[in-house]
Every structure is written in C-alpha cells, then in structure tokens.
Symmetry: C2
Subunit: 408 residues, 2 copies
C-alpha cells in the first residue's frame, strides 16, 4: 500500500473539523497523527450529534455526560489521542517536547492563543511546519473575530451565490469552508515538508489558512467580473444565465435529476434521449443563444419529460446517449450504488465504541490501489501513556503524578 507520508509525525491540537481534518488527511497517507486533547472532555466534537443508537452510545464511558457522537467517530479516526492541559506550564513543557519530535503541527485556536501558551512557532523547533487555521487569518482588523464555518462561507462570498434568486441565500449542506481549508492547508503543509527536506534548508514554516480565504479562492470569475465590468454577481439557483437547458428536474418518483445539456452536442443527445429529435432543429432551440433566449421553455420541456419517468429511468436514458446526468443522491442511494460498491468508496472502520462503522474512504487513490482503512477514533487519552513514554521518556510514576495533577 502506497504511504507517501510514512515517517512523518503530525500533532493535531485542533478541535472540531478544519485542523483535525488537515491532520487526518496526512495520516491517511502514512503519517502518524497524535491528537492533543484537553484532559477530561477532549475535543468538543465528541459531544455533537447525531449520536450512535441506544446501547452503543456510551461514548467516553464513566463520567461522560453525552452519548457517542457519530460526527466524532468519522472525524476523529486515524489518530492517537493524548491528553495534555496546554493551559498549564507543565503541559506546555511536555508539548514543546512532543513538538521537538514532530514534523507538522495543526491548530485552529483563535490567533494569539499559542503565543499566550508559549507554544507558538517561535518557541518551537525551526524544522516544524505549523498549520494555523482560523476564521479570518492571523492578522488584519478582523483576525480576532469568532470564525465558524458559516462565517467563512458568508464572508468569502459563497453564501450570497447559493440559493434561489427570490429567496434567502442558503448554505451548502455541509461545512465546506472547514473542509476546503483543511485540504488547502494539508497541501501547503506537504509543500513545506518538501521544501524543508529537499531544499536542504531544514526550515519548516508557518501556514496561515483562513476559512474565508479558502472560499474566496474558488470564486471563479466573480471578482474579475466586478473589477472589469462592475458586475455584482448574484445567485441564480440551479440554472445558469447563459446556458440552457441546465437544471435539477423532478422525476415521477419524487427525486431530482441534474441534467446538463447546454452545449450543442449535449443538447442534440438529450433531444434524442427524450425522443424529441425535432427540437434539435427547431429555430427556438437550434443554437446556444436561441436556447438561452427561450430558456424557460426548453427547461419546461425537459421538466415535462422527466416528470413522467422515475429518476433511474431518466438517468439510464441520459447515460445511453452520453448526456451528463446525475440524481441528487442521498445516503441510501450512495450506499447501494453499484459503482460506489465496486470502487469501495465507503469503508467499514472498526470503531472502539460502536464496532464496524461505514463511512467515507480516504481520498484520492494512489496507483490503482484500494483506499487504506484508518483506525477508529480513539477514546480521550487512549494513547497518553504510550506516547508520553515513547517521546518524552516519562516513567510510570511521572505519568501518575501528572494524572493526579490533571495535566494529562
């Protein structure tokens, strides 16, 4: 199995999604990931729903006041858990020791927090690559504002563009700013490792990855058009101003099928798939410009056709004619799809609380190999003794004393 980052060690002091996701990606490529958690409760993600079914939701065991989080089970996978109170000097000292054996540090506290704890990049070895994720970046007038995923989506400009023109904007259904930032940051961290180890400088570096920036980076032509044309782009739902037919079309069985057939070739194929070859030469639809001018009408024609068929039939007819089409898949569709099953896009991960738990596999793939299967999400502090013994040379009595003092 290809593990390109084997030999790399990552410290994850993040919480919730963005920084832990960044660390986990590196882990799925072979890095060892050690998550540092606050003694006791650990990552707040452990408390968020949805929760495992009754009988399987005794999360963290005795003393836990919440059932077992399936969100944590997914995002916490593939790493070890070490408890360490970074608010106490002895915890900070141990952290600096751990960092001296580490290649990449991932954090997403508010800017200034690592500095307050004296575990900021300047206090750590120069060979360390530090990924700093925040809502608004490490400097600038808004850098200290609370920055959640939604803020990044809104402030970065994606929220305004998503939804129907006549309604409130709507958020993308998952925390895209968190994940997108995590992936950008993982790429940048890997690039700095490359530079450190290939360039020969031995210098790590600091990455400033901010939620709104990852969203802003993928805004297509939005800002160029504002600058060059004075055009303020607005949301257009599922249609596109200058292309038709494109939409999510309703099926007889209550599903939605996304069909993209605005180019000449695809439009002709769709007409054939609909058994309406006469539309290809109809002056109202014969050219791209004509279809845009009569966008409402051609979209309605497609919609009238789809409404008489089940989604699977619509897709099959489109596929038979090479028209891009896809049903808006839900979790059940994906779990039962032959292609997903053949490819192994969902893997059962052995979770320590609920047992085998099916979830999204590592991505992307190397050399035609199936994706690796990460270890299940650890319990809080499951690897504290193991890691601190190995990397900090702590003895059992020292561990006992630290534990008694609430430092681990």
């Amino acid at each position: 199995m290809r593990k390109p980052l084997a030999g790399v060690r990552v410290l994850d002091v993040g919480t919730r999604i963005a920084a832990p996701f960044c660390a986990g990606l590196l882990g799925e490529q072979g890095a060892e990931v050690i998550k540092i958690e606050q003694p006791g409760a650990g990552d707040p993600l452990r408390t968020l729903g949805p929760y495992a079914k009754p009988g399987q939701n005794e999360g963290e065991g005795e003393g836990s006041d919440h059932p077992y989080s399936l969100f944590w089970a997914v995002e916490g996978r593939g790493r070890k858990s070490v408890t360490l109170d970074l608010r106490q000097p002895r915890g900070q000292e141990l952290f600096r020791q751990l960092a001296s054996h580490t290649d990449v540090l991932c954090e997403n506290f508010r800017p200034g927090t690592l500095e307050r704890w004296n575990i900021h990049p300047g206090a750590l070895p120069r060979r360390l690559v530090t990924v700093r994720i925040s809502g608004y970046g490490q400097d600038g007038p808004k850098s200290l504002l609370p920055g959640l995923d939604r803020n990044g989506v809104a402030y970065g400009g994606l929220l305004h563009l998503t939804g129907e023109p006549d309604r409130s904007p709507v958020r993308p259904g998952v925390t895209v700013a968190d994940y997108l930032t995590g992936v950008f940051a993982a790429q940048a961290a890997t690039a700095l490792l490359y530079d450190r180890d290939i360039g020969g400088s031995g210098e790590g570096g600091v990455i400033d990855a901010y939620l709104y920036g990852s969203v802003l980076r993928i805004m297509e032509w939005t800002h160029a058009a504002y600058h060059n044309l004075g055009l303020v782009r607005n949301r257009v739902g599922n249609r596109v101003d200058h292309s038709a037919p494109i939409n999510n079309y309703p099926s007889r069985d209550g599903r939605w099928v996304c069909i993209t057939a605005a180019t000449q070739a695809n439009f002709a194929r769709l007409c054939t798939a609909m058994d309406r070859p006469e539309l290809i030469e109809d002056p109202k639809f014969a050219t791209a410009n004509a279809r845009v001018a009569n966008g409402g009408e051609i979209n309605q024609i497609v919609s009238d056709w789809t409404a008489l068929l089940d989604a699977a039939d619509i897709e099959a007819r489109c596929v038979a004619h090479d028209v891009p089409a896809a049903t808006a898949y839900d979790a059940a569709d994906i779990a039962n799809d032959p292609h997903v099953i053949a490819r192994g896009d969902l893997v059962a991960i052995d979770d320590p609380v609920v047992g085998p738990l099916r979830q999204q596999a590592p991505y992307p793939r190397f050399d035609g190999q199936p994706p690796p299967v990460p270890t299940g999400a650890p319990r809080v502090g499951q690897h504290t003794d193991e890691v601190l013994t190995e990397l900090c040379n702590l003895k059992p009595d020292e561990l006992a004393s630290l534990r008694a003092d609430g430092i681990i």
Copy 2:
C-alpha cells in the same frame, strides 16, 4: 518570498477547471507550469463567459470567434501555454519528450484517453507523478460516464443536502466539486513528490481523483448515521435540526446576516447584543434543548430584531459581543472590506488582454508573507517556441514545419 515547490515542473493538459486548478496551485508555490493546448482554439474555458468589456474583449486576436473570457483570465493565470496536437503521433512524441523533463502531469480527460494517445503513465517516465481527474474515477461501471461538476455534486451527495426542505435541492453557487478535487489532487501530488524525492525510490505514481469522491469525502457524519441509525439525512436549509438560534436573518437594508448563537455562551452574548437579557433565563430558551424545542420562536425573535437594523449594524453589535456573525458578502462587499484590503486577498494580475485585473490572491500564506502575484493568463501558444526550443531542442525550421502541419 517562500516558494516551496521551486524547481518542480508541471504539465497541465487539463481543460476548464479541476486539473488546471490543481496545476495552478502548485505553480503559485513556485512550480513552473506549462499548459498544453490544442492548436487553434486551446482550452474551451477560453470561450466561456462572462466576457471582458467592449474594447477589451478581443480575446485571442485574429481568427478568434469569441470575446475574451474573464473566467479564463482567472483560471489560466500563472502558466505558460504551448500548443500541441495530442491526437497526432508527432504531437504525442513531443509530449513524451516534454514529460521526460516534468515532475507532475495533470489531466482531466475521460479515462482511457491518454492510453489511446499512448501518453499514459505506463508510456512515460516512472518518476512522473500523474494526476488523473475524472467525474467517476479511473475504473468501475460508471467510469466512462460524462462527469461535470454538477454530476459530482449530485452523485457525491452534496446536492441532496443543500437547499430548503420544501424545495428542489440547489447547487452550491460555484463549481465546488471541480475546485475541491483540484486541491485534494494537488495535495496528493505533493505527497508523491515528497515520497519520490525523500524516500529515495525515485518513483512517481498515479493519482485517481474523481469529482464525486472529493464531495463524498467531506460528507461529515452522513454515511455513519445511515449505517448506524438507518438515518437518511435530508436538507434543512440554513437551520440545524439540533441547534438554535442559527440562521441567515434579513436586515432592514435587504441583506442577509448569518448568525450562529446556539451554544449557551453565544446565546447569552446574542441576548445581550439584542438588549434582551431576559431571554437568557426564560425557561423557553434557557437551555440548548429548550431552544431547539422552541426553535421557531427564538429564530423569529432574532429575525424581528435584525429586520430593524442595517446589516452593518447587526454585524457590529454581534462583533461587539463576540457573537459569530457574517453578512452574505457579494463581490462589492468583499472588494471594499477593510480586512480584505488590509490582508491583500484580492490582487491585480497583469492580464495580457485587459491589463491589470483584480482577482482572488493565491492561498494559503506562508511565513506571514503577502501572497505572490501570478503572471496573467497566456494567449494560446504564447510559449510554444520558447518551451519546445528549451526542452525538446527544436530548431526554428522544425518549429515552422510543425506549425505548418498543424501540430503546434
């Protein structure tokens, strides 16, 4: 300026967004990016709107039948352009020569295309890292289906989760599957470079990055909950089933402000910001569970408050009390925002057709440095002679002959 990938050479044979974006990211970190385009028209992205304003839209000069694409101006930046007809054996031979001087190849043809042209990974040096981006992956029963961004969003499960429960699902406002796949692929390519050059094997590798997979990878707890609970997750608009108040709230001046105040601490702060401290201890809202049970009512209270204020005032009041809040920013808001300006998140890139063109800056940042400024998007074939002379040792008469034969 930190350029961690200096010395790396990338061939971009992609079109439109995903593979070119992957290549461009590597370029913004110092890699040399050479885009291979079909002689004549080049990347079809060059023909897509929106177009530069009249007088500046004479895109590709004589022979071009379309005005200048601002989408191309953004996505084509930071690379050289070489024309090469990969459908002809002489073009394929030159391509193999170029690849022998290359570290990373990025492509997003349908699976099997590089094989048909005999420029697939097996025909190229083993040290090459090949990024293969497709809609559905390199194998499996659906691998040959046409896969556009929307298919990835729909088939990967994000479309079903985005939008209001009572309406059609709605696509995220930009091509998130394309970009997300591009970033994942860039990370994986960097990891393989690291492995190749650090591990000492000298072996590159092949990355299978598929649009639906990047979307599936960020689906949070969706599949774990289906497996463990039999729960098929559905879209919920801007609210969250188990948290309140969270929503996009309307302002007096017709804007939408996203406020997230479901935790106890944030809810108390929001009540203070609204000058409604009595709500903090109101039994209907005093606990997270109570707020969920009375979610409609508390969201309405917040909405009634926001409706009396302009967006800027709502944000200012939330900020003053450390409540996460962000207006759904449009292009004009972003261009004029003091934080964005102070941080330099938009940069003017010197475009060869329209001149300085403001667009999103490279992301993320290294070592506290401002982002680099990429070169403007090249004209089709602008660097053909330069690159083929340097890397393939072609002489002027050979270039003339290739040009006469339509190969470059």
